[in-house]
Symmetry: C3
């Protein structure tokens, strides 16, 4: 099997090659496994875009999606994630996409599980396909990472993607700075006030504020957050020419970003979602090309007369 | 895109042509789009028959159904319907079927959304495919609308379909009267007591009583409702020869209609459900024949050797 | 239609023939109906393995699965199971797989419903595909039933499968004894203390303890249950040579069985799950071979060039 658990598992050249693959899917390339391949999406937290995006990617690859509903599963009877995963493996699922509230839930699975696991988010940890779609969107825009300046703005500490994005971007040659409320950052991160960041960054990468959690602790209202750290129309006007706005969504309108800017010309927010499908096709293909030998099945690219 | 939001959007000739199409599907006609088409059913209220009926229609047309579970979606994190719809559009869904508790939820979507929306019920407002299946069932029975008398019985005020059914039936040439508790009607509606209506109408169209809501307000028990306004076996015996009974279901047995009459020879209640699938195939075909140019795809009728 | 409601409906030769069919599917045999066949899985209780296993079986047979979510269905509006089933029949579903908390829920359906019902568990009653997969696993191991001794250990009274397994095993020629807390058995059952049973049985068939229900009544803790009646590593060492361990899962680790034994060489627990898919393919094929005449469709085995 070939898992995808964190961005740290991927070498820079693998990242580049996954983005190239994703771009080729975006342009209409078709790849489908020769035999029926079964996948299941185990989401133990609410999700629209990641779950539907994975399902779309799976369908476009012609995979059979075995539906799994956490709220109607034996998890309710106290079944452990390990046993649920072994069950899915036993019934013949070839790969699992998993989102789970626990950090590094996959540690107990990665050695014992005989099928590929694709991490769709663990606790406050990792979310590699989100990172990849962010990277693809930047690549699409600028054609390179070297020399770019990316400002990540917001709740760095609780963000699944901020750390791995920052790490991957640096490995690929970009400069990364952080902005937003200073109390949310690591000591070692280069910090830049929001009004300086917007003037100099090529990419403003906003993070979702989980304000329900923070308001009490930091005593900052939605309005105050927006005024002090949010992307207001006034700040957008001072952004560097040619720079873009990104956000993993769902957006808190008028908190991280003014509602009117979500679909402004600089925004790549919906483009990110679109790219998400192609990135997931690429990582699914990567995992399925390594299907366990027990199945004794050739999986290879196949151009079909009719695109599905 | 080509939405279907309310019956008022459809000219009488369009209604007729959708019914003709549905009847042709009922007789086994096959139509499938040339390329893979992706749809999703966004149901923000409980539903069995409408949701499963749409999914059946979609499968019979060979569409790919991207599963969406409202109770496990980002709507739980406060995401707006607008953002959910834009997300589905971004990931490449071609059409959305939506049921939502808010009246005219589609007002903010119909201009901004680049894909087709099929309304599967909005608040106490509209439910055009239910209207169409009702009309198809009447047409199937009598071959015409002109000269028919249809009595709509029950909770006119809170019914999604009563108003649009009444309007469409009149536009198609039928006479429509209302019966049931007088306090539930508009001032302008021709009212007829139940015992006169059942003797003269060709169609008794019962509405579901949301008794949990009304009992307190109108202080009428289920038993009393049934006795005063319900279709009892005694009243059924006095119905006009050749007349039929309709109900959108789910039925409150022994409230709107005696339990024993649900499957009686006059009842078309399960026939309505059967017709629902064909009507939905017809409206899906109508929307998909207008798929947005961006996809650059020919969608056309295709007879296949093996019916799916 | 051809229902599968209880094991008692099946003659020994039918059981044998279903197991043979399942083994042939396990070896890669392919059977798919000629026309599109629609099934739906109506699960009114949480389930992972049974529901996903049925869906996997359905996909492997090339069936179209109409998704049904009990928690978002009209059952919430008080719709009866009968009306839900008639709805699914009306929209054109060919077969229904049902799990329901009520014992013998199918009594009101079996005569009136025009499509096949496959029972996936009723209350504390029956669960025929679980029985069949248990039997298949035993057959696979020993090649016969005659002369085998099977010890069923645990909560006999509340187990869906224990009674029907016992009955079927006896009809097929095996000896069956029961073990565990004496207060959970029928008077007429041959009882054997656990420490004698493990030394003499060819199959130790553990039952899931619903301890949340029993602890209070029988004042027995999880630890005490494990010590007195559970399969501890010490007991496993004294098991008869060549004997196997079975459990329907989900397992309560360290209650019915020590966590470390779940995947030990004697354990067939995950093998049972694997077999479940093939058994369900066999019973689905049995029901679909008898599709109602109204559809006028030939359903027959078809070897396809590419296995799905």
């Amino acid at each position: 099997m070939m898992h995808l658990l964190t961005m740290a598992d991927l070498q820079p050249e693998e990242i580049t090659s996954l983005i190239v693959e994703a771009e080729s899917f975006a342009k209409g390339a078709v790849w489908q496994p020769e035999r029926s391949v079964y996948v299941s999406n185990l989401f133990f937290e609410p999700s629209t875009r990641t779950k539907c995006s994975f399902e779309m990617a799976e369908r476009k690859l012609g995979l059979e999606v075995i539906q799994f509903e956490a709220s109607a599963s034996s998890a309710l009877k106290g079944e452990s994630l390990y046993d649920t995963v072994k069950t899915m493996e036993s019934i013949g699922v070839d790969a699992l996409v998993i989102r789970h509230p626990e950090d590094q839930y996959y540690d107990e699975l990665k050695e014992t599980c005989g099928i590929s696991i694709l991490n769709a988010g663990d606790g406050c940890g990792h979310h590699p396909t989100q990172s990849l779609l962010d990277l693809m969107t930047i690549k699409q825009e600028f054609g390179r990472f070297t020399g770019l300046k990316v400002a990540i703005v917001g709740d760095f500490r609780h963000s699944r993607v901020a750390h791995s994005n920052a790490d991957a971007l640096r490995r690929l040659g970009a400069e990364v700075v952080f902005s937003g409320p200073p109390e949310w950052f690591d000591e070692n991160s280069p910090y830049e006030p929001i009004d300086r960041a917007i003037r100099t960054a090529d990419v403003i990468m906003l993070l979702r504020i989980q304000h329900e959690r923070h308001e009490r602790k930091y005593r900052i209202t939605r309005e105050e957050y927006h005024r002090r750290y949010g992307l207001t129309p006034e700040r957008e006007r001072r952004m560097k020419p040619g720079s873009i706005i990104m956000h993993p969504a769902p957006v808190n309108r008028d908190v991280e970003i003014a509602g009117g800017l979500v679909e402004c010309p600089r925004s790549r927010i919906f483009k990110q979602m679109e790219n998400g499908v192609y990135v997931r096709m690429a990582v699914l293909k990567r995992s399925l090309s390594q299907i366990k030998g027990g199945h004794n099945v050739e999986v290879f690219a196949k151009k079909r007369a009719l695109a599905r």
